[in-house]
Amino acid sequence: MASPADLAIELVGISKSFGAVQANKDIDLAVRRGTIHGIVGENGAGKSTLMSILYGFYQADAGAIRIGGQSTTIPDSQAAIRAGIGMVHQHFMLVEPFTVLENVVLGAEDGALLRPSLAKARAELTRLAREYELEVDPEAVVGELSVGLQQRVEILKALYRQADILILDEPTGVLTPSEADHLFRILGFLREQGKTVILITHKLREIMAITDEVSVMRRGEMVRTLVTAQTSPSEIAEAMVGRRVLLRVEKRPARPGATLLEVENLSLTDEKGVKRLKSVGFDVRAGEILGIAGVAGNGQSELLEVLAGYAPATSGAVRYKGQPLDLGSRTNADDRRDAGIGHVPEDRHRRGLVMPFAEWENSCFGYHREARLQGPMAMLNRDAIRALARIGIEKFDVRPPSCDLKTANFSGGNQQKIVLAREIERDPDVLLIGQPTRGVDIGAIEFIHQQIVALRDRGKAIILVSVELDEIQALSDRILVMFDGAVAGQRDASATNERDLGLLMAGIDPFAWGAA
């Protein structure tokens, strides 16, 4: 066992409850100085709560925090910063119209006049850039930087405040594989300089690639801490879920049938005049899964919205079973459903579900005009809707199995199952799926993937948009990569690899390169 002085952070017996929900139960955690320590766990396992306690957002009900061997209380984030803790949030805390320099200095100014602080910061940034490969133009406006660079600014902010311990919350969710690699290189430099890094993630690949030790949380408890070099992804996954998990999706080769959807020259320019889609074209056939990969924000969302009938396209055509679809209005969603095109939207909280509704009310959301659900006098037939809701709950193993519970009270995975049950039970010929497992725990991911493959095997066409490359690779029969609103390339799923796809996601087609 390491001596206390070797420990950057030691948490002893931390407990925290919100009402009846115990988010953290008697948690012990020891993070050794100069290491990268991973924390994994399913959604709701208590990772974020634990880190929020460490960063002063919440106060623990019980337990002690020791930083560098000293007992410390952290009443707010200012205290955390003073204790040498820096945090890079999943959603950046940056002022977009400000320059990099101004963002770094913000809240850490030396006096009422900005000029001396800025000068000091400029010198410091140059040093940090040299030491850690953290190059960013100090005068660039943050809003104009790429997501990867914005993240670098967040790290610089923490280092500028003399952080010795850096907490990163799901840092790679928004990055291309090469940007993620660069981030890991930066983290490696930080480790060499004796900094301590805590990495919260659900991607086991990253845990294996970069961490020294990994702590697994489950249902508010710290299950175990493993030395990364002595463990395996399946062991970690098992610890997270509490049972054996299939990390790979079992599926037979696709047997594609007739072409169901033909997309031609689809373009979309938004109100600000930004081209979101640029002459996108592809086909989807019955019985296949077409995966659409890409870093978030490269037109995948807009593509789904146009196909689903609630974003008008600027030009181009989409034919469904040979017939052109109306792309001119944002209120075509019900026509699409009538035609047999189902849609699991990317954002179930904002679009796919009405959170304050009871489960049964969401079980027919979008299909509430179906003749079988109508009662007398313009009323809905609540009994019919509930009966269908119960069938969906049973088939998709929604827990708790109650159709009267408010939707917001289900976990993320179960909410997603409610959406999937609704869409898949209508037996659509084409199903558009966006981010099927975002915010969904590993156990439910397995189930959701099986359902998607089963739908394909029933001869349906599926368009799958996901920013998780693993998911795209595991499920797709063909993969289309989008970059900057255009199709960067198409690949057969069996004939590509992560590196190839990663280059396409960055807008580089190695194949086209070689041919030219």
Partner: protein
Amino acid sequence: MKPALPRWADLVLIPALNLILAFLAAGLVVVFIGEDPVRAVRILIQGSLGSSYGIGYTLYFATTFVFTGLAVAIAFHASLFNIGGEGQAALGGLGVALVCLLVPWPHWTLALPVAILGAALFGGAWAFIPGYLQAKRGSHIVITTIMFNFIGSALIVYLLVNVLKVPGSMAPETANFAPGAFLPFMHEILGAVGIPMSRTPMNLSSLLAVIAAFLTWVLLWRTRLGYEIRAFGFSEPAAIYAGIDPVRITIVVMVMSGAMAGMMALNVVMGFQHRLVLDYVGGAGFVGIAVALMGRSHPVGVILASILFGILYQGGAELAFEMPAITREMIVVIQALVILFTGALENMVRGPVERAFLRRRTA
């Protein structure tokens, strides 16, 4: 996860605590001007609920507030803040007056259905324009509805002074309706079945208000349209995803809301004043906002809150009469305190109550 209160605490305990706080604050005001707050409360309650006379007036006021409160509540469910009840009710009054004046009605039973249509049509039309502007042009409904209050007020002044006034009269009001267009008073109805009641303005409209509240509940929680309204109100992107046309919902909801506000004319114009008087709405449109807030936009809550405001109106009038130191303006201050505590400061009580419940649950 946000801790949820039990339903009864949300619906009963918190409003009750708010009310007690409001009365304590109002009591301080009464003490401050050198009067006895306990006596003031006694007069308030006695004056509003102590006799069939008081009760009649209280419920007459409450009926008005039910209509304007439901109007605000319906719009709230679609996330639309209709503060134009004042103008919509004024126009509703015009609709009712025209129906009652233009046809020599032989009996109120014939006049009533047409008057309801008139009130709904005129009130609804006045809300249609802001609804259309919001849905199609993005003009914010709060701005447009309040502007339409002024436009409506000016329109009614013009009509009453130049068009509808009785020739030779000095008063800006229409001619009296023929008795065939009077709604029966409650004391007449009850008297007919042998229950004695003092003469008050309370009339058949009170029953209509209860029916309106029930139909509002059916609309919102039983019909497909209500389902779409609530979905739209919670999340517009979700509504669009579900194929619900936001333009249509916005306009339909605003028209229904305006129609409901217009119906208050049944109570005041057709049920009591029997002519259209200048500024007959008298702030009831704004009280509707407080009523809807306090009643949590639920029809039952709207009815209860309306009765409370009826008590404040009627009891307040008695109070001003019995305790001259408490002026009419003082009564408005007390009513304002109730609105402040039940509407604006609701979260002040909610936080501590939620924490108290959490402690009890975890203990």
